[in-house]
Symmetry: C2
Subunit: 137 residues, 2 copies
Amino acid sequence: MNESSALRFVTNREAIVEELPWGPHEWLSRPGLVAADQLLLVRVTMPPGKGHSFHRHPLMEEIIYVVEGEAQQWVETEKRTLTVGQIAHIPVNLVHATFNNSEKPLVFLAILSPANAPGPPLVDVSLEEPWASLRQQ
Amino acid sequence: MNESSALRFVTNREAIVEELPWGPHEWLSRPGLVAADQLLLVRVTMPPGKGHSFHRHPLMEEIIYVVEGEAQQWVETEKRTLTVGQIAHIPVNLVHATFNNSEKPLVFLAILSPANAPGPPLVDVSLEEPWASLRQQ
């Protein structure tokens, strides 16, 4: 994509859909779609019983914003139930996780910055302690 | 605020409310509230007939995400009606504007990055051409 083909407006028709184990991801802002330099935006629809277990983004700051339903949200070892319109703010490299323990779909926005960080975007730590046994406590 | 008092979770109880001519702004992520370095997040409730006229952010990239209602959204001289779940992506320093021409409240998220840009966050160009007469055309 050259810069001139970058979109200024994105609806669900233009969104790039990625199927992940914890539900479909609709990318609304990322390089190759819009002229994103600072901002990634993805809307995740997480079915009941699913979750994106403990992980960290080595070089990106993140916000989770709940659009629909209810999230069990972790930031490090702190847990909250987030409902519509509530957020978690996750500084760079802090471990976090999102689960849907409810009986309805959870829809949330994940906002990440910057958009062009080098290296792996995500490091899974779900099998390491204390994260592996945190939810059972 | 020292770093240790930064919130990880923000609901409407903790949000910082700012009253602006085009409707109340609920800040969910900004320095002094969370440990924001990259991400500003504000939820704007814009009554019918109101608008945030043409302006630019010299050093910040922005996304507008519609949560409720309908926005007349401009990015430079291009106009779209955005409905729930649709976005505008605004590269650094591009002129843009948001109006509520509908009969219902418009609620949208404004996401800006970075969070600590120096200088004026916003430059109003609403009285300059071509912006001043753009909506009348």
